[in-house]
Symmetry: C2
Subunit: 330 residues, 2 copies
């Protein structure tokens, strides 16, 4: 890998917090910090605070970043370096020329990407993909379900960096209305809130005694992780709800496997922390549903990098810049 | 394009017939003929007849092919040149070293590929894709539903040339049992037999008077094309059945568009001849279901090449040989 001796900066911009890191090209993190986003201050102020943070980290590490990679939770015009739309910030950003705004403040080239696609790069280069995968699919299971697709070593981007929205495959044609406007998206069936809602319902209906103990009767404390513990401890109804969600996810994974026959599928995000149940059910669903070719050679794994996938992907993005994806100028 | 002056041979091996053509590298067909497959004679005999046919065509055209591309309806080990499994021939073929068997008889290099992936190459190079698409998805709608995926100009193959089996996406999790063993595959809902079965049922139940006229009351004469004519002529129940099948296809298309944001989706095969209803419903389904990015720039078209897509793809395969796909040796 080139650029080992250079240092790069990475920024993972979220709705509530911004994570920032300085690292070498081989993924050795030199300094790292997280600050609140405070997006209500407007993009100019957010970028100023990010630039100040990068300066601090650079001073600590005693070196200047050669380039910066930033992931944002939304649509990016990759050629123009413009954030087209960030739906999840308290003040929605539209048409923010983020690349040039941030670049002028940090004094190095800036490259933008959707945050989940950036995490996909991290998984490819520093996670399970580093064992040699070249066609890989990443699912980020959190409040929503994002994704990323790598074909023959190149991130599939499309003109808006929006290819890979695997959480918005239709799994139930007449299913629940999704935030995106479609019905029955995978996200409506297997993202954190969909799973948690089932847990809360079972809690209220008295069918989850172990979960009730675990959260002290507090519905607000229910998470997929607590539900997995309750299932483990004997709450059968909770186990069924988790299996159903995991089977829906298994369909989403199976559909992409059928289309691309990848070497590797990585499940990341908070919901993936749920434990072995999720992985077991997804693996079994894929074996059962993909019948047109043998799937023994398709590895399905939980993220190695956890919540560091995005920041490490940002280092790859900073280092490789515009050459990460396979895009044709239009 | 290189190889314009060379002549190539193409073979499209089907369950009942074998189509064969000689053409220049720019797709100018010099000679073409179709013979019965007679697969019960065994693979050796079938290849001998194919080789004899190629010789005849070469004599007619007055030139020898530099290479031959052959599409087969099943799994191919691309590196070994071995047909692993052809489920649809009357005598199922297993582990037939087709590349070497045919090559020694025709006296030129032979390249194998799944037949629908070969047709995808045809559409890419000589069909709608020739207007410059580099990421393209092909659905072959016939007795089954096959497919092909092209990313950044390269056919996505996977280790068995089996990537792109788009007809085996799960559309209804608890839907009808598919021939592949899964439930609710797109193929069970929108392939020719699934559509025709609906037409026959409506015919028998007396709810398709126009269809009854068109086929003279003969259930065996019902096809998706006749059903489209009957719908046009006023059979509302037939129209509804066609719309439902097309909406299922629309979900399958929307899922792939969401994952890959291609520039082009091509619908081919006999069912696509059904007329504008299919294309209209699929386009509308994709617009309605893909909401994470604008889809105005995703063209959805009926095949330009029709049943010639496979043969023309075989010419591309012959010309480009092993460099058609993006594969990493394992």
């Amino acid at each position: 890998m080139s650029g080992m001796s250079e240092v790069y900066a990475s920024v993972d911009l979220g709705g509530s917090k911004v994570a920032c890191a300085l690292a070498t090209g081989d993924g050795n993190v030199l300094a790292e910090r997280t600050i609140p986003t405070q997006s209500h201050q407007g993009s100019q102020a957010v970028f100023a605070r990010i630039a100040a943070l990068v300066s601090e980290l650079a001073a600590e590490a005693g070196c200047q970043p050669a380039a910066l990679g930033m992931g944002v939770p939304g649509l990016v015009d990759l050629e123009a370096g413009v954030v087209e739309f960030l739906p999840n910030l308290p003040t929605q950003w539209r048409d923010v020329p983020a690349r040039d705004m941030l670049s002028s403040q940090v004094g190095c080239p800036v490259h933008l990407l959707n945050d989940v696609r950036m995490a996909t790069l991290g998984e490819l280069v520093f996670g399970h993909g580093s064992r040699g995968a070249c066609t890989m699919v990443f699912f980020a299971l959190g409040t929503g379900i994002g994704g990323g697709v790598v074909v023959d070593g190149k991130l599939r981007l499309g003109p808006l960096g929006a290819a890979g929205e695997l959480g918005h495959q239709t799994i139930l044609p007449d299913g629940p209305r999704c935030g995106c406007g479609n019905r029955g998206c995978l996200e409506t069936l297997a993202a954190g809130p969909a799973i948690t809602a089932q847990g809360v319902w079972l809690l209220h209906s008295g069918r989850a005694p172990r979960l009730h103990e675990l959260v002290g009767g507090d519905a607000a404390a229910v998470t997929p992780k607590e539900m997995a513990q309750a299932a483990e401890a004997g709450d059968e109804a909770v186990r069924e709800a988790l299996v159903r969600a995991a089977e829906y996810l298994g369909i989403g994974v199976a559909n992409v496997v059928t289309a691309l026959h990848p070497e590797l599928v990585v499940l990341g995000g908070g919901v993936a922390e749920m434990g072995p149940l999720l992985l077991d059910v997804v693996r079994e669903s894929v074996r059962r549903r993909v019948r047109m070719f043998p799937t023994e050679d398709v590895r399905i794994e939980r993220s190695l990098l956890g919540d560091k996938a995005g920041l490490l992907g940002g280092i790859v993005l900073a280092m490789k810049g515009g050459s990460i994806g396979g895009r044709k100028p239009r």
